[in-house]
Structure formats: structure tokens, C-alpha cells
């Protein structure tokens, strides 16, 4: 006869195993009180279905455009596989589903547009949750000497992100937002895009960048000085214009002094 589990940590591990698809451990089953002719497995299935349903719904809420361009059954198959493979690790459901685009790549290699759309949707959802931090502006920059400007440590603002894709993910997302995209739409063109996304005043604004501008801003994904970023960019794109890129960054509020994040 199997002995019921008394240790809290073990009981919790066995129950979570079951919720994420494992066959219930006999020790877990022996720990559950049976009532009214309902067996322990049936009672566990209430919780298992609840967890799965919650996580499917979280993916649907995080990826509405992917869901829109996909058959409901297909989305649910992907969601089921994802939930079975990558458990939630947070009580905040907004943090669940970060790797969904990788999963779509694996399950639907013929639909790279959907995988890229998922990557874009996750990026946008992070921008919407990011704090608004005062960006570097013309006046502040002008207050520094030329040497100080060159040595200034900068980062991309939390509400700014770079998105590079060969797929028409941004066009699909915009069409979905405008209510005009359909799952059978094939009017989206494939071409290499380098985009700056800015979330501000409850709106997302995309800006097309040149390769040089994109690379220059990519330096600020980690803290970099203006001088380092510009030298790296010029080594690859000799025609890169710092003036143009800097004016655009200051106008859009793309960069913040790195110490604002500390």
C-alpha cells in the first residue's frame, strides 16, 4: 500500500508534475481524500484543465495577431505543445509566453511570417509594460562639452526597441490593428526591414531605419558611449551620418542616460 506524502515540498512537486501532464504519482494519489465515489485522478483533472486553460488564454491574450492569422485549432495545438513543454514560472501571467515564436518556428517552419509576428507581438507587449523614463534631449546634450558628449553612456529607452525581420510581421500587425488583415491575406511583401519601435502616449510608432542607423542604435541595447557606438558603426557603414541619427534619436526620445536605469 502506498503511503501518503507528508512532506509539503514533495507534495507540491508531484502535484505540479501532474498539472503539466505527468501521470499522477501513486504517492500523490494516496494523499488525496476520495469522496462521493469520485477518484483522485478525476479531482486532479479539474486543476489540470484549469491550469492549461489559464495558460492557453494567456497566450491568446499575448498573441492576438498570431491568433487572428491562424486557424483556431492550429493555435490551440501550438499552445498545448508550448504549455506542455515550457511551464509558467511566474504568478504574473503577462510574463508567460516569451519563447512562443521559437515554438512556431519549430512547429510551422513553412510560416516564418507567423513566427516573426509572434516575436514582434511579444516585443510590443514588453514596450507597453516598460517604464517611461525621461529621454536624452537637445537641451541636456547641449549642456555637455564635446568631450563629455563623446563619453556619455547611453542606453535605448525602455519604451524603444529595434526590430529586424525579412518577414512582413509589422505590416501584418498593423493590418490586424486596423481590422483589415485576414488569415488568407497574401498581399504582404517580404523584404528586409530595420525598424525602430517607440511606444508613447498609448501608441506604438514604427520608424524605418537605414542599416547604419539600425546598427548605431543596436549598440545601445547595452550601455555604450556615443563615441564607441559611432566608431563601430562607421567601421561597417562609412557613409553613416551621426548628425542625422542623433537628431532623430533626440527628437523621438530613443536614448536615455545609462545612469537613469540604475
Amino acid at each position: 500500500m502506498t503511503t501518503p506524502v507528508r512532506d509539503l515540498a514533495l507534495l507540491q512537486r508531484l502535484l505540479i508534475d501532474t498539472l503539466y501532464g505527468a501521470t499522477p504519482d501513486p504517492r500523490l494519489l494516496a494523499s488525496i481524500g476520495v469522496r462521493g465515489g469520485i477518484d483522485a485522478e478525476a479531482l486532479l483533472s479539474i486543476y489540470r484543465n484549469g491550469t492549461r486553460g489559464t495558460l492557453y488564454q494567456a497566450l491568446e491574450l499575448s498573441y492576438p495577431a498570431v491568433r487572428h492569422y491562424t486557424d483556431a485549432d492550429q493555435f490551440r495545438r501550438w499552445a498545448r505543445a508550448y504549455v506542455g513543454t515550457l511551464p509558467s514560472v511566474s504568478g504574473d501571467l503577462d510574463r508567460y509566453g516569451a519563447d512562443f515564436h521559437d515554438f512556431i518556428t519549430h512547429f510551422a517552419p513553412d510560416r516564418p511570417d507567423l513566427s516573426e509576428l509572434a516575436r514582434l507581438e511579444w516585443l510590443i507587449s514588453r514596450l507597453m509594460q516598460a517604464p517611461a523614463i525621461p529621454a536624452l534631449d537637445f537641451q541636456t546634450l547641449a549642456g555637455y562639452s564635446a568631450e563629455e558628449q563623446a563619453a556619455l553612456c547611453l542606453r535605448l529607452a525602455p519604451r524603444a526597441a529595434l526590430f529586424e525581420s525579412m518577414q512582413p510581421a509589422l505590416e501584418m500587425w498593423q493590418a490586424f490593428q486596423e481590422g483589415v488583415g485576414s488569415k488568407h491575406d497574401n498581399r504582404f511583401e517580404i523584404h528586409d526591414r530595420h525598424t525602430l519601435l517607440i511606444y508613447n502616449s498609448n501608441d506604438l510608432s514604427p520608424f524605418e531605419l537605414s542599416m547604419g542607423e539600425f546598427l548605431w542604435l543596436a549598440n545601445f541595447a547595452k550601455t555604450s558611449t556615443l563615441l564607441e557606438a559611432t566608431e563601430r558603426t562607421l567601421s561597417t557603414y562609412p557613409d553613416f551620418s551621426l548628425d542625422t541619427a542623433l537628431i532623430q534619436a533626440l527628437t523621438l526620445g530613443t536614448l536615455i542616460p545609462a545612469h537613469h536605469l540604475s
Partner: protein
């Protein structure tokens, strides 16, 4: 675990015993525009983690008009592992920002020691080890927030036969940790039906002074089990049990929860007024 002086310093500052509603996205705009008369609002803490400026602007506008409660669903006080520091920090930021009259969480667990999270309200065994675990986590949360929190009894669909009853477990957690009790009347009824006990015995066992709030909601009857779906009007037996709670424990701020199949705002407000009428009667009796 908490001495008397600390407990006084931390204690929940109660609001008058009126009825309120849970804040759901479907009603955000109507509430902001119409500002209906209601006792208070409860927001789910996790829905306001992060800095979504539109959502925070709406919540701030409502907070300026109504008393606000922050009610968490994901902290997992009963986990044998450590509390999630990111979750705690986000909760602390939110509490500082909105200064709610009460911060509450569920008396349950959701995450395994290896951090896999069920995002569900899972039942605890009613054991001494579980009491120690929960109380340590309540202490940690109350210390961090600098205030007393309340814990809510959850609905359960299975039980781990253990060392004590659910009501003894809840009362002991409140006694040792100094937390308040958010008593969900619907959950008591659901558990009474699911596990076969007399719900009035549960109410009698509650330490009156610890009970700071009531929740009411609708359940779904699936034959062998009642499920706490929050997807229907409050059922008659739950209203009856609520009246019994008012008589035994007394009037407290009372919330109508409705999370699935969410009705139009007037229907929710009518349900709230139903609770308010019971509260009025018992306030008058108490006076």
C-alpha cells in the same frame, strides 16, 4: 510571530462596511465615465504590474474617486519554496503607488519549489508544516509592505486529509501571523458542498476581530463538484450563508466578484446593491 506593538502599527485601516465590485477591463470605461455610487473597488494586483500607462491612468482616476483594494492571485504564500522576489517587488511598487485600504492574497499555493507555477489556487494540506510555511511568507510580505495583509480562503476540489479542519487552519494562520481574514462566503459554501461539512460551523470558528472583508461570487454546479467560476450571480444558498455571517461575525466591506461571462455594469451594480441591502440591515441592527 508578530508582537502586539508591531501588529498595531501594521494593522489594516478598515473602510465602512459597504458593498463594492471587482474592477474588470470590461467596465473600466463605464466606471470612469459614469462614476456610479459604490462602496469600493478591488483590483487584481497582477493586472497592474508593469507600467502600462493607459491602464494606470484609468486606475489612478478611479482610485481618486473610490477606496481601492489590491487583491493578489499569484504570490503563492503556501509554496514550500521562497516567494518570488520580482513578484514581491512589483507588489510593493503597486501598493506604494495606490495606497489601497487593504492588500489581500489567497491562502493557497501555486508554485513548486523549482518555481514551476500553476497559475491556479491550489489546496494546501491542513498541517503544522503548511501553517509554518504560510506564516513565514505572510511575515515576509507584511514586513516588506510595512502593513498587515489579509488572506482569503479558497475553493477546493480535492483535499489532503490532514491534521485539522480548514477553518481551524485558517484561524491558526491568522492568529500566528497577525494577518486579517478575507472570508469568501461562496468558497465556504462550495467547499462545504464538495467536502461535506456544515458551513455554519466554519463561520462560528472564525475569529471575529480578524475578519476584515467578505467576498461573494457565483459558482457552477457540475454535479459531483461545485466549481468557483465567478461566472454567475450569487446563488441563494450563498446569500443565506452571507446573512448568517453577518449575524455571527458582523458587517464588513463586501465584494461582488464576477470574472467570467462578465455582465454589463448595471447588472453587476444590481448584484452589489443586493449585498448592500443585507449590510444595511445588519448595520442598523448593530447600531
Amino acid at each position: 510571530m508578530v508582537d502586539a506593538a508591531s501588529a498595531d502599527r501594521l494593522r489594516i485601516q478598515p473602510i465602512p462596511a459597504h458593498a463594492g465590485i471587482g474592477l474588470r477591463d470590461a467596465h473600466f470605461v463605464d466606471l470612469a465615465e459614469q462614476r456610479p455610487q459604490l462602496g469600493w473597488l478591488e483590483a487584481h494586483s497582477e493586472n497592474f504590474f508593469g507600467d502600462n500607462s493607459r491602464r494606470h491612468a484609468l486606475l489612478a482616476a478611479l482610485r481618486a474617486h473610490y477606496p481601492l483594494s489590491l487583491h493578489g492571485v499569484g504570490l503563492s504564500l503556501g509554496s514550500s519554496g521562497a516567494l518570488d522576489p520580482v513578484h514581491l517587488q512589483q507588489l510593493q511598487t503597486l501598493v506604494s503607488r495606490y495606497e489601497p485600504w487593504i492588500v489581500s492574497e489567497h491562502l493557497c499555493w501555486a508554485a513548486a519549489p523549482d518555481r514551476r507555477h500553476s497559475n491556479a489556487l491550489l489546496p494546501l494540506p491542513y498541517s503544522e508544516e503548511a501553517i509554518r510555511t504560510v506564516c513565514a511568507h505572510i511575515d515576509e510580505t507584511q514586513e516588506l509592505l510595512g502593513r498587515q495583509i489579509a488572506v482569503e480562503n479558497v475553493s477546493t476540489y480535492l483535499e489532503f486529509p490532514g491534521e485539522m479542519t480548514e477553518w481551524a487552519f485558517l484561524a491558526e494562520v491568522a492568529r500566528r501571523s497577525g494577518c486579517g481574514i478575507l472570508l469568501d462566503i461562496n468558497n465556504i459554501y462550495v467547499n462545504a458542498r464538495n467536502h461535506g461539512f456544515d458551513p455554519t460551523v466554519y463561520l462560528q470558528a472564525m475569529p471575529q476581530a480578524s475578519v476584515v472583508e467578505y467576498h461573494l461570487a457565483g459558482y457552477e454546479d457540475r454535479g459531483h463538484t461545485l466549481i468557483d467560476t465567478h461566472g454567475a450571480a450569487v446563488h441563494e444558498p450563498v446569500w443565506a450563508l452571507f446573512q448568517h455571517a453577518l449575524a455571527v461575525i458582523g458587517p464588513r466591506p463586501t465584494l461582488i466578484e464576477w470574472d467570467t461571462d462578465i455582465p454589463a455594469l448595471p447588472i453587476l451594480l444590481a448584484e452589489m446593491m443586493h449585498a448592500e441591502r443585507y449590510l444595511q440591515t445588519h448595520r442598523a441592527l448593530a447600531a
